[in-house]
């Protein structure tokens, strides 16, 4: 046996302390708790939609919220699972959630094309993007808090595909951050949701891809 390696084994054994194996469940729970706090802060600071507060939300609010939560949950689970090195276990279920979430921007794009081709005028409010900076700012700020927590949690684990983990952290935090904002968002426009919400989630995903791998690499 190589003597250097033997010395290393002795040192590592001397340094051994009991550890509790990390559980993906704790990572997902952390994301959910942070997302809940961000949503509560959004409601307290900016207030909720009137219909939501009255308990009779517009159907589009329920649909967009469900899609964002579904995407956030699926990507959070995949990101948390990435903390444990595994071989051959397919973890691509989150892609179906992403495909479902892409329905909103796709429908918006199709309707936009329909308007252009048929020269049908837009309804009032359809293209009102006056508060997009407000929407984008709240969504991304919330996402940063959620993403920071998940990234720090991931550092405890051993993600072997840091690029994929970065995408997943960005998508998860962007989805929940945008969901938190959607509770306040007064718009019911499919165009607004398709463009601004997708932009917020997309920017968070790219940010995650660019920043997270450097932090979680080991």
């Amino acid at each position: 046996m190589n003597m250097n390696t033997q010395n290393l084994i002795e040192q590592l054994s001397a340094d051994l302390r009991p550890v509790t194996p990390i559980r993906p469940f704790s990572g997902v729970a952390l994301v959910l708790i942070t997302a809940l706090l961000v949503a509560l802060c959004t409601l307290v600071i900016f207030g909720g939609r009137a219909d939501l507060m009255a308990g009779t939300p517009n159907p589009i609010v329920v649909i967009r919220g469900s899609l964002l939560v579904l995407l956030g949950l699926a990507t959070s689970i995949a990101a948390a699972r990435a903390a444990r090195p595994t071989h051959g276990a397919g973890q691509n279920g989150w892609m179906w959630a992403l495909a479902a979430a892409l329905v909103m921007p796709l429908v918006a794009a199709m309707l936009f094309c329909y308007h252009l081709l048929t020269a049908t005028p837009f309804k009032h409010g359809d293209m009102d993007f006056g508060y997009y900076a407000h929407c984008f700012g709240i969504s991304v700020t919330g996402a940063l808090l959620i993403g920071a927590g998940l990234t720090l949690w991931l550092r405890r684990g051993a993600p072997v595909n840091s690029v994929r983990a970065g995408w997943l952290v960005g998508l998860a935090s962007g989805s929940f951050g945008t969901f938190a904002y959607s509770l306040n968002c007064p718009s019911n426009s499919i165009y607004y949701i398709g463009l601004i919400y997708s932009l917020a989630v997309g920017v968070c995903a790219v940010t995650g891809r660019l920043i997270v791998p450097r932090i979680i690499r080991w």
């Binding site: 046996m1 190589n2 250097n4 390696t5 290393l8 084994i9 002795e10 590592l12 054994s13 001397a14 340094d15 051994l16 302390r17 009991p18 550890v19 509790t20 194996p21 990390i22 903390a83 444990r84 090195p85 595994t86 071989h87 051959g88 405890r156 684990g157 051993a158 072997v160 595909n161 080991w218």
Partner: protein, 174 residues
Amino acid sequence: MRVTEDDLHALMLRSLDGDAQAYTALLTGCQYWLKRFFDRRMTGAQADDLVQETMISLHSKRSSYDPTRPFLPWLAVIARYRWIDALRKTARANETELHDDTGIDSDEDVVSAQLGVMRLLDALKPTQASVIRMVKLEGLTIREAAEKSGQTEALVKVNIHRGIKRMAALVESE
């Protein structure tokens, strides 16, 4: 020394509870497994370094082990991660000299390593594969490779860098 998956799994469970004796036995068993793993992929001193680096990773990331799953696949994933990381570092450093092969233990390992490299080279663009062969396998300098291949010295360096990066990506995707 040959230890079975069941032995390693049991030793790992005791190690997670802080049993130093079991941990020593575990690392010793891993050392032989890792030596075989890296001897097929790297040359002499590099393989030894990677064995030690993987043991340090195993130690620092032992909490990422799922006690309900087999041990060796987990170890293999960590070893592969360290191997890919080493390939990336090589690509970044853009080293030009061949590494010393004096630590190779058997011809079989050398042949396996070379076959693996040849297979990866076949997947690269000819301009990348040719300069990697010249500089990394035949030992030519960058200037000599540039003259022989008809590429500029800068292009040779770029093609080596991109080629090795591509090889690392191929290994990662397998």
